[in-house]
Amino acid sequence: MYTQKVIEHFTTPRNMGEMEDADAIGKVGNPVCGDLIWIYIKVKDDVITDITFKTFGCAAAIATSSMITELTKGKTLKEAYQITRNDVAENLEGLPPIKMHCSNLAADGLHKAIEEYLEKTGRTIDDIK
């Protein structure tokens, strides 16, 4: 049911693990199945210089977490905030329909991390739009 790309990211996930000196962490839970994704980001001059994840979830959740960190690294906060679940799914060459909600979770985690960072620096998402 999964594409080769999903299996590949699932078995060898990129940017996996905790980030000790993270500038912000986006912690989200999946309202559908109860799974969790944490996204850690390091930011310099509004550019995401480093990003890692930790995930408690299915193969799709792990693969989408891995993919979103790849897509995000080096992007500005503004660019990163525009990444959607469809971008993640497309880059994984598709996800089974019942697994689309897992890619939502990864995108939500990233957005939450960015919002946290902005809040810490006294801004909101409107300030970078």
């Binding site: 078995t11 912690k27 199945c33 799974d35 408690f56 299915c58 193969a59 792990i62």
Partner: protein
């Protein structure tokens, strides 16, 4: 290619070679319809009667009892409950089942509850064993039928059917038993056990898929749910699946003859598997009853990780297993059995169902015990959860627990 090892017999069993041979002539050579008077028809009719005897012997049924062949255990369960409820409506409208039942029981009583019937789901303890006091209390003067499974496919727990049937018989209420998971694994004697109706599946006996049977004791009358030409005592119309029925009969006979031998083999593998995994992996727990469990079932949950991920890694190593995780169910809800046993949603996520079969070997079990621990370690390294970061920290976040708890 890695060797494929099936530890998922609860989902599908390879048909026994001898069964296949017994069926073969009934596809082309003996093609007659058992309802025909001519010799080809009569040949098929005789084959079906022979299969009836083979199936009744597996459960020690009397020759005056009935074995009604169906399209599988789901139909047998539907027929038992709907057929009995409609037929005995005037005697009452209340049905008792347990929390551990298969969805073909749960969804049937839900359906009946829209037709004017009511039902109770008797609770179970942490091992999934039905609370017999609660069963006793659930009985009302409206109760017409009690349906309790014998063994649970998912977690392996065996119900105390003798105790349950005593309660039912004392109240003069017939007992239906779903024996899909237990038949051929542990002895069944419908007479001694005081069972009025019992459902069986052919594939679980190493017979073909698409065949099942409902046993009804002499004197138990049910109404058909499929109407037509009046086959199978008028209870289950439709031209008989002759080859399939012959296959189920042959499978039942082999299962009966080899019951002790197979059970001993499976128990050995199962106990090695459970011991090996629990020894090698910490924060791993056995689900289901530690002793009263099906010979072929090991259900183990691993804290902090999710079952589909474990399953997929295992399958890359050739091991075919199943999980109770919400992430693999069609409704994305966790297993209703585990939840009934008091396992939390987060814990249910990491549950593996390992169901062994006759063809499995100790070698395969040993290899599994080697392959599994690094997978668990790898997934735990990925998880934000640990002993220090329990799941309930997040319970208050936007979790919606509003999904229905059905799992197939």
């Amino acid at each position: 290619m890695v060797e494929q090892v099936n530890f998922n017999h609860s989902a599908g069993v390879p048909i026994d070679e001898r069964v296949l041979q017994a069926m073969e002539p009934y596809f082309r050579k003996f093609y007659g319809n058992p309802s025909s008077v001519h010799s080809a028809g009569q040949q098929s009719a005789k084959a079906i009667e022979n299969a009836r005897v083979q199936v009744s012997q597996l459960i020690a049924a009397d020759s005056k009892d009935r074995i009604i062949f169906t399209s599988g255990a789901t139909e047998a369960n539907n027929l038992a409950l709907q057929g009995f409820a409609y037929r005995h409506r005037r005697n009452g409208n209340h049905i008792i089942i347990s929390q551990m039942e298969h969805l073909s029981i749960i969804n049937t009583v839900k359906f009946l509850s829209k037709q004017g019937f009511e039902y109770n789901q008797v609770k179970v303890d942490q091992y999934g064993v039905i609370d017999t006091q609660a069963l006793q209390k659930a009985i009302t003067d409206q109760t017409i039928i009690i349906s309790i499974q014998h063994g649970n496919k998912e977690v392996g727990t065996i119900q105390p059917i003798a105790k349950i049937s005593k309660i039912a018989n004392d109240a003069a209420i017939p007992l239906h038993v779903d024996a899909v998971a237990s038949a051929g694994q542990i002895p069944i004697d419908v007479t001694k056990m005081g069972i009025s109706m019992l459902s069986l599946s052919s594939n679980d006996l190493y017979g073909p898929k698409g065949v099942g049977a409902l046993f009804t004791k002499r004197g138990i009358s049910i109404q058909p749910i499929l109407l037509g030409g009046g086959q199978e005592y008028g209870i289950r119309s439709g031209s008989e699946n002759v080859a399939g029925i012959v296959g189920m009969g042959a499978a039942a006979e082999i299962a009966q003859q080899q019951l002790e031998k197979n059970a001993t083999h499976l128990r050995g593998l199962r106990d090695n598997l459970i011991k090996g995994v629990l020894n090698k992996v910490d924060e791993a727990y056995l689900n289901g009853h530690p002793k009263n469990r099906l010979p072929n079932n090991a259900n183990i949950r691993f804290a902090f990780i999710e079952g589909e991920s474990i399953t997929l890694h295992l399958s890359l190593h050739g091991f075919l297993v199943a999980t109770s995780s919400a992430c693999t169910s069609k409704t994305l809800a966790p297993s209703h059995c585990l939840l009934s046993m008091g396992v939390s949603e987060a814990e249910a996520h990491g549950a593996l169902q390992l169901t062994l079969g006759r063809e499995n070997t100790l070698n395969q079990v040993d290899r599994f015990i080697e392959v599994l621990p690094p997978i668990i370690t790898k997934l735990r390294a990925m998880s934000p959860l640990s002993k220090d970061v329990p799941y309930d920290l997040f319970e208050d976040e936007e979790h919606d627990h509003e999904h229905s708890h059905e799992h197939d």
